[in-house]
Structures are given as C-alpha cells and as structure tokens.
Point group: D2
Chain length 356, copies 4
C-alpha cells in the first residue's frame, strides 16, 4: 500500500515493524551462522557501543525482548525477598504489568505522581517513615526506586531532579533503576538535559528501549556497580527470557548505535511531535499539558473527538470531564513529514471556536 494513502494513525509508537536500516541488517545477515544466546559478535559489538555511548566502560549490558520482562528481572534480582520497590503510582510496573512484580514476590510501594514523575522528597517520606516505624521488621522494606525516563506521560526528569533522586538512593544505600522504554524520544527532546552518560552515572541500572524506538523488538539493559547481579545470564534463562538467536537483539542494537541512528530516530519523532503540538496550539486546541517528547496530549470536546476519530486514529488517555476527553497523539521513527502535514491540514476543521 502506498504510504500516502494509508489511514492516518498516531495511536501509538509501536504499530509498525522496524526502522529500515534494522530490517536491512537482518536481511543481509540472515544466512550467516552465529552462536546462540547472545554469545555472537553482533551482541559483543553492540554492548561495546552502548558502553561507549553511556561512558560506562565497566557496565554489564544484556539484551532482552521486552520491557515488562526487563523490569521484572531487574527488580527481582536486586531486591531481597522482604523488600519492595518505590515507584510512581502511574508507573508501568504499578499498573500495566498484570502483577509481574508481585509474581516476582515484591510489593510496589506506589508514590503520588505529577504527570508521571515523582519527587525526591516524596521518596524520602517513604524511606523515613519506614526507618522510624517501630514495626518496620514486620513491614515491606523500601529496597529500590523505579522511575521511567521519559515517563508514561512523556515528561522528563531534569538533571537536577534525577540527581536529587540518585543522591537519596545512595544515602539510603538502595539502587535506582530507570525504565527507558522510550528513551530515544527523551534524549532527543529539546528540553532534555539528561544524557546517557548522566543516566549511567546517576542510576544503578537502566534500560535503553528498542521496541518503541526503531527496533523490531528488544531492550538493552545496562547494570553498574551494586546492580551487577552474579549469574544474570542464568536468571534470564530461568525466566524464559533468553532468546535462542540472541544475535537478533545484538544486531538490532548494533545498528541503532552505529552512526547515531538511535538519536536520529528520536530526533525525527520529536521534530514531528513538536510541530504537531505547535499546530494544535495555533489552531486553538487545549493541551492537557505541554509535552517535551513524542506523545502529545490534547483535551477534546467529545463531539470533536467523535468527528476527528473518523479521520485519524488517536490513543485514548483519560476522561477529562463529562464533556471532554484527553487524547494522545504519538509520533515515532515511522512517522513521516506527510503524515504530519496531513494531520495538521485537518486541524482547522475541528478546532474549537475562538472565544472573541
């Protein structure tokens, strides 16, 4: 189907396959033989490139298939049985993993959020309350902190905010883990001031998302210092998370971290998203909030929503009030100039009437 005729869709950032460069690499190497389980030269090369990009020569890098899998493995590997993980109440592990963390044996200690983010002081409250409780030995001990960058709302922790959280974790002697499912879109945001080396310095573990950022599938988990887990290869295997043809993951990340493709993927999506966000504002639409990354949230009157839905697929975010709904437009590596132009051209027809 010619791309220009396909239905307009901004419903999510994992609707298509892979960035063409990745697909090409898969095709080219298809008949080469390589050892299984990630012990292949593509995986080695990709790990080295990621260590370089994160300025973390000592880091251990593992490639996994998906985000929930990665979160579950990291959290159960880093916690003692009676410890829980502090997370935003909107965090992916808090709501959308069907209880993966609890199945691993651990409580999610949910903290109130602001647009997906939690503050160092709110984390501190949990840590202090636990420390001072006379019954603390009968309670779940806060044993690590989970956040995402960008968050589920597409918002970003600033370097200052992340540093505050990191310092707090180090004082409390607990690891900080960052879920980077959409990291490419965070790194490419004009308002972002947290680089990969910052992240590697401030977090004990984090993952660089592939699935939503140009890969067919896959996430690159980076672990440092206290977050290096003995026997993690066997843990991956034991959890059914070891890909037989590990080369498939290595090759994808090797491609993403060659000539800055991962950053290009992010920049392209962000440019499209920001253009769309401006156009929405110019057309008089009300934003839910001003988003720095690839997810744009707009408050639509329900009648407008119905009409606009005929022309373009969006994602439902949440009910705003009886007459309004928050909808999400997500761009990705696969969004084209043309997609955006077509969408922007539609907007005036659906824009709220200007109040004179």
């Amino acid at each position: 189907m010619a791309a220009e005729n396909r239905p307009l869709s901004f419903s999510s950032d994992y609707m298509e396959g892979a960035h063409p460069a990745i697909l090409e690499a898969l095709v080219e190497t298809n008949l080469l033989r390589s050892p299984g389980y990630g012990l292949d030269p593509y995986s080695d090369s990709a790990k080295e490139k990621i260590r370089l990009a994160a300025d973390a020569a000592d880091a251990e890098v593992f490639f996994l298939v998906g985000g929930t899998q990665t979160n579950a493995l990291v959290i159960k590997s880093l916690l003692r049985s009676y410890e829980g993980v502090i997370a935003p109440e909107t965090g992916h592990i808090s709501v959308h993993e069907a209880g993966a963390i609890e199945m691993g044996g651990h409580k999610v200690l949910a903290v109130p959020h602001k647009l997906g983010k939690i503050a160092a002081e709110d984390i501190k409250k949990v840590l202090t309350a636990f420390r001072l409780d006379g019954n603390r030995d009968h309670m779940v001990k806060p044993g690590m902190v989970y956040i995402s960058q960008p968050t589920e709302y597409g918002t970003l922790y600033s370097l200052e905010e992340l540093t505050a959280i990191s310092n707090l974790c180090r004082e409390a002697d607990i690891p900080l883990y960052v879920d980077g499912a959409r990291m490419a879109y965070g790194l490419a945001s004009p308002s972002n001031d947290v680089t990969l080396p910052d992240l590697a310095r401030l977090a004990d573990a984090f993952y660089i998302g592939g699935t939503k950022c140009g890969a067919l599938f896959g996430e690159a988990l980076v672990m440092r210092g206290r977050a290096k887990v003995p026997g993690f290869f066997s843990i991956i295997k034991q959890n059914g998370a070891l890909l037989a043809k590990g080369r498939l993951l290595g090759l994808q990340f090797d491609t993403l971290f060659t000539d800055g493709l991962y950053f290009d993927v992010g920049r392209s999506a962000i440019a499209h998203a920001q253009k769309l966000q401006s156009a929405l504002q110019d057309a008089g639409f009300r934003l839910f909030f001003e988003s720095p990354t690839n997810q744009i949230f707009v408050i639509l009157e329900n009648r407008t929503l119905d009409a606009l839905s005929e022309e373009v697929e969006m994602g439902f975010w949440e009910t705003y009030d009886a007459n309004h709904t928050v909808m999400r437009f997500a761009t990705s590596w696969a969004t084209t100039e043309e997609d955006i132009a077509r969408l922007i051209a539609l907007l005036p027809r659906f824009a709220p009437k200007k109040q004179l």
Copy 2:
C-alpha cells in the same frame, strides 16, 4: 559471503535467521500498522490455519517467543501448587532450563529414558507409587506429563506409544503436554506416524516450534479442553512473555502454515539428514543410534573427532568412552544440497578403517 565458501557447520539448527519466505513477509509488511499484543489480523489468520492443520477447531492458540518460556508458562498454569510434572530425566525442563520449572514452584519428577523417550509403564509406576503411598499428602503429587516430540535425541514416539501415554493421563485425570520445539522435523520423518491432528487429539497442550523450524523466533502453543487456562493472556503478560508487536509472531506462523511451508521446511532438513546418515554408515562410521529426524549422532574416535573438527563444526553430545565421543550433526531448513555434498565428500578421509 557466498554460501559455497562459508565454513561447514552442522552444530545446531538455530544458527541462521529465518526462512527467506518469512523474512520477505516481514519486509513487505514492515510499515503496515497493526494493533499490538497479538490482536492483529496476521495472528488471527495464523491461529485459524493452525487449528485447521491440527483439526482442532476448539483449540486456543497463543504465540510465544521461546521454548523455555512456553514450557514454564504451560506447566505453572496447569499445575496446583503441590503438584509436579513427570518428565524424562533428559527432558529440556529437567536439565536445560536453569530451574525455570522450579522457579514456577514445581518439582520435575524425572523418569528414566530410552534415547529421550519414556514409556507409559514408567509413568504408571510413578502414578501408582504416589497413589498407594500412605504419606502421599506430604508428597509432591504427579499432576501432568511432559514429553517432547521429537525428543532431545531426535527420536519419535509412535502413535501407539503416544496413545498409551495419553490414555494413562486421561485415566489419571492429568494433562499431557508435548514440547514440539523441533516438530517440523518430526512430522517430516519417514518413520513418523503421529500427525498434527493425532497430537491435538492425544495431548491436552502442545507447541509447534518455530525457532528451530524456519522462524526467526517463536512457538505456537495449542491448548484444548482441560488445558485451556482462564486469563492466559494476562498470565503471558505477567510473565513478561507478551510481545508488544505480536504481529511479528502471527505473521511468521501465518507464513509457515501457508502452502505447507512448515512441512516443507521439515522435509528438506530430513532429506539432508537421512542422506548424511546413510553416507556415514556407508563410509563405515558407527552411529550412536539410527536417528529418524534431523539430528544424526555418530560415535567418533577422539583422534578422528579432532581432525574432522578442522573441517566441519559439529555439536558435542556426550562422552562415549575414554577414546570415543558422541557427536551430533544437525540439519535444518537452512541446510543446502551443497552443504551436505561437501560434508559427504569429506567422510571417506575420516572413516574408520574397515576391519577385515
């Protein structure tokens, strides 16, 4: 690299990528958008084709990424907490899943094998011993049976043997689960008399392996009757086994079950394997046993092994005695006429001296 110059390798059947038809399908559909998590039309179509091929209209079909993952999910979903799974002592779940079944909470009740197979009467012994034991409420209850077809040794259960095991399971009111990681190679074997519909009729659950049979990755799990598990989608998600772009799995199996590709893949590998096995025998090599499928086992003198290893990659199987080693040649969908011809041409040079 031109295929004809590449090093000869028969070390395993998952060294390459995917069958070209699968790769082509992935490339063609790369920019099409589809809903995530397997709710796409390719997955629907593939499920329907599998139900048809297995003559199991009522079956539930799920696509998963790998074999250990599939085994672990099925077993923990079908057993009560205090039940264990009967399996050959050489079964994949018994030895090579790093404790995945135990992590799911269950004991593997290992039964002695003959070339990877277990007999109905040996299973019966376990069931009877449990039933008669005065302390059985303090013991792990045998709650299901796990076998593989073909087995890890490449051997096959005959229809009669499988029927006996199935009948026993039904009398005992426990499910029978068949691991089909290499099923294409079993189905295509000239000595095989167990069809997919037989399997669907005799087993309660089984999976049709993709990873080793032409797919990039993926297994198709089929569940019937008592083995249908409420909420299995959520179980997949909770275990980190839900692929975001589920389409990738659906598309691969849709391709494999179009125009009999899955069976072609098997037939080609089997033809190559049987040709090799005959050539080995003709050249005077001693087989470990006569294999009906795509894994050929030969007993090599250790000096021969060293010399032959310079020319071709094989897989180590087991030590035979102080001077001999059992080595495995595995063919696959990716094995070519040329590979086999080159290998056969080598044999006379390494063949044991005929005893006159």
Copy 3:
C-alpha cells in the same frame, strides 16, 4: 509473682500464655498418644463444634498456627496468578505481614478506610474501574476481598455493611475472606450484630482467632463453597504450616468451643474494656473514637503520656499532632478486675484539666 503486684500492662492482647482451661487440657492429655498432623480425635471434635457454632455443616475447618500464615495460605490458594486482593489500606495484609501476600505472588489492592473499615461502594469502584478499563488484561484483576472483623482499629462491620460487601462479592463472583484474629472480642461486643452463622453465611472463608483470644496459639480457618480448595492439606504442608502435633491445635479449639468458653473469653475482655472506656471519658480524657471492642484508643497530651507511662504500659498507636499521641489500651481474656480497678484509680491524677 503475685498477680496483684505485677506491673500494669495493657500494651497488647497476646502478652500472656493461654486461658487456664486450655493449659489444663494440655497438661491432662500430655501423655496420651495421638496421630500427627491434625488427624486426631481432638481436632475432629473441635471441627465439629466449630461447624455447629457457625451453623455450617458443610464447612471445611483447618487449624493453623498464626494469622499471617493463615492469611497468606488462603489468599494464594484462592487467587489466580494475575489476580489481587482488595483490602483496606490499614489491613494487616496491607502493612504488617512483611510482604507475605506479595511473596505468594499477589498484589494487595488497597482501598481507603474509615477506622479500619472499607465500604461496599469503595470496593465496587475498584471492581467497576477494572471492568471498564480497556487495558484490563494488562492489569491485576481484583480477585477477592479481605476484611477483618473486628478490624485492626477494633471497629466492627454491622450485619448490613457485611451483607452489602458479601452481595457485591457474589455479584462479582469473587470470594470474601474475613480475618478474625480478634473475633472473640467482636462477637462479645454489645454493638455487634454479626454472629458466627452470619459470618459463615456471608463470607466464603474466615478464621476464628485463637492466639489473641485465649489460646496459646492457633487459628481456626473455615472454608465453604467456592473457597474449599482441593488438596489444602498438602498446601499447608508445602508452606511449612503443618504442625506435627496437630492435636495441640485441635485440643485448644475443642476447649474454646466447649461450654461457650470462646464467648466467655470475649465477654470478659469487653466488659473490662468498656468499663475502662467509660472511666476514661468520665475522667475527661479525649477518646480517639468510641471503640466497641477490646482496644480502647485515647488521645494523650505528650507530657501526660510520659507521666502515665511510668505507671502503666500502653501501646503506641499513632501521632495525633505535635503535642498529642494516640495510645491504645488492650484488654484480653487475661485482664483481671483488679488490673482495671488499679488503672481506673490512676486516671484522675492524669486527667486533662476541665475547661471551665
């Protein structure tokens, strides 16, 4: 030590050993031999008496050692892996079991409380929100409801409130489980209108607390209908919760349910508690709330607290404000007339000045 000289203590209701009748029964039967694991005549007799007292001839009764153990076993036996348990945010399983429920694999879905109680409508909100969520298959499914009677605050659900919750659970087809660690004190409260037969009729499972109600240790778990779990004996064993000398539990509950001892134990503690509560009010102390059971909560100025603590042990409950603290007095089967008289005699000295 003569009882009259011992320090005054109301810090909790499990500081002493067992009701003398229980100890006597243990001494008398000490050298009798009986089969282990609860298969003894005392256990049978106790089960029968409990079925009778609860008017639940079909119920299964199990004796366990402690409350956390009982909660954990019931919850993990009744839930599917991806289900969670709705509970008050102050419930014992929510805060004081060190993550036992999560270790069993399940999320506690905490609901806001009023003095330890949750309302049917708040439970309904959770059920409805889940049912309507488009992503519900990615979320933890609410699979049962946990409440306690009396609650951790010593408050009681009325028959009307309990019926509303029970109806809701039946509509939603999920079990209702009631933690009755202090049930004797609830049953004996003048404001209670929920009998044991009511509880057995409205809940699917509940336990009758022994540890805090006159036994040395032990809880009697009652399960009906959908809450009867096949192989629960083996589940108890597997969880290390099977007492070798099960007779010890059977005998204690047989004694408690002979001649109404369990109810006497409750009545005595309640009479003492209510007398104390009246005396506190008469003396001008401010109650945190008016308690219907054996735990009396008073708001003390911190200076008063310090002074009073020299004379009597109380339990810390929570900080009220910068200058005040909520303290708890707990009575039990072991509280004597004399204890109460001595405490009441102390009160005037510490009472707040009347505001004229």
Copy 4:
C-alpha cells in the same frame, strides 16, 4: 488413663505432648507478660545457652515452629534463584515436604543414599559434572548441601564423613546445612562422635530439633558466617513463620538447654531403643540394619506383622519382598521402662523359628 494400661505404641517419636519439665515451665510462666515475636528474656536466655552448648558465640539463633518450615526458610534464604540444593534422594526435603523447596523456587538435586546418608564423593560428582558442563549456564547450579543428622533412617555421619563433606562445601564455596530434627537422639548415641560444637564448626547452618525431642513443638536454627542472612526476622514474618508468643519457643529451648535436659532426653530414648534392638536380635528377629539411634528397623514376615500389630503399634517403613515388610519401632523421651519391658516380653511369642 494409667500409663501401664495404655496400648503399646512405638509408631513414632512425636505422638505425645512435651517433656514434663517443659509443660511445667509453661504452666508456671503462663500469666507473666512478655514482648511478642521472640523479643522476650526466655528466648534471649535460650539463645545464649545454645551458643554456649555449640561453642559458637557468634552464631545467630532463631526459633521456628517446625522442621519443614525451617528447611524451606533456610534453603530459600541461602540460594540464588538459579541454584539448587544437593540432598540425599531420601532426604526429608526430597520426598516429604510436599514440594516446599520447589515452591521456594529451587530444585532438589537428589544424590543416591546409603541408609539415608550420602558420601562426599557423590556430592563431588555433582559439583564436578556441573563445573565441566559446557551448558552449565542453562542448568541449575548446585548451591548448597542438605543432609540430616541423624538421617531419616536414624543413621549417623561420623566426624570423618561430616568433615569430608564440610571441606568439600568450603572448597566449592557453598554452605552446608544440617537438618537435626532428631538431633537429641544422635547426640546421645554411643556410636556418635559428632558433638554440637563439631556441628557448629563444620556446618554453616543447622537446626536442633525440639518437636521430636521433648518439646511441644519448635526447632532452634543456628546460623554462622556465610549463612547469616540479613533481615532473617522479616523473612520469618513474611513466610508466616513468626510465632506471636515467641516466648513459648524460647521457654521450651531454655528448659531443654538447662541442666542438660536435651541430652537426657536423648540418652533415655537411646537406652530404650538399644535395649529393644538387642532383645530383637536375641529373640532371633532379623534387623534391616543395626541402628545407632532411636529408630529400630526389623524385617518381619507378613504373617508375623499382622499378629504383632494386634499387640503393639509400629510404623510401616517399606516393603522388603513379597513376604516381608520392614517395620520401625521408634522410642522417644516419652518411652518408659515399662513400655520396653512389655514389648520385650512379647517378642518370644512372635520370633521366627530358629533354623537348626
């Protein structure tokens, strides 16, 4: 019932309640108040006495309710997720804990036994095979060794045997854990040369059994060095294994370790058992093997078995052949001179005819 008229029973060593001294201590202290959860002076005193008796000033001591509970907690606390525990195939954890170890996530790596014992060289084989296996990262790693002293057969490891196993564990850097459910009977055996200090020196963790050795219930777990687990109190709580009135355990072990009661309990049972064993031999009965502890095993013709069962309760051990059965006589702290005399008096009537 007067003891002299009670039916003769040697079916097990946990049929009665507690040694009178323990019951007396419980009665005496019944109304004393003490803090819960083992934070009481009796527990402190008992721990100190056990450290002294084991010459292990640095040891941590915990009191638990039962053996399966203790085994499960120790094993899951000491192993990484992908590790298993080496144990005799007849070990309690291998067969009679209903899968408690697997529920904790771990494989029991069963090793062939001789009368319940395993040899250092057999353990070594498992360790070596794992170390040399090219797929070891896909396999369960042997992570600790479990044995029992005395074993389930009542046999004893000699100091030399235990030292060999301990050395092996230290070389392999894995902990050795000893299940001492019947330890009193081992320590008191004339053929025993392993003292409590030896055990504390050679094992990393072990427990001193109370339930079968004079207590109402309870086991004393001793952990040293690498086997000290951070947060073990919370682990106990999380597993539902924390007794509210921990004093009950402390008091019992305090009594058992005062004036050598624990050793007296053992000596008395052993004296009775050895007397019985000699009498059996003298009367011409065939022993299954010569037992050093409190369990005596005799091979009975099935007709003799039926007849003798009318007079005395024994425990079924195993089928010997079509016409013979191995039966067990167990003595305990509760066995009296009179019991033994009555049993011995019976023997001639049932003894096999001497072959002339």
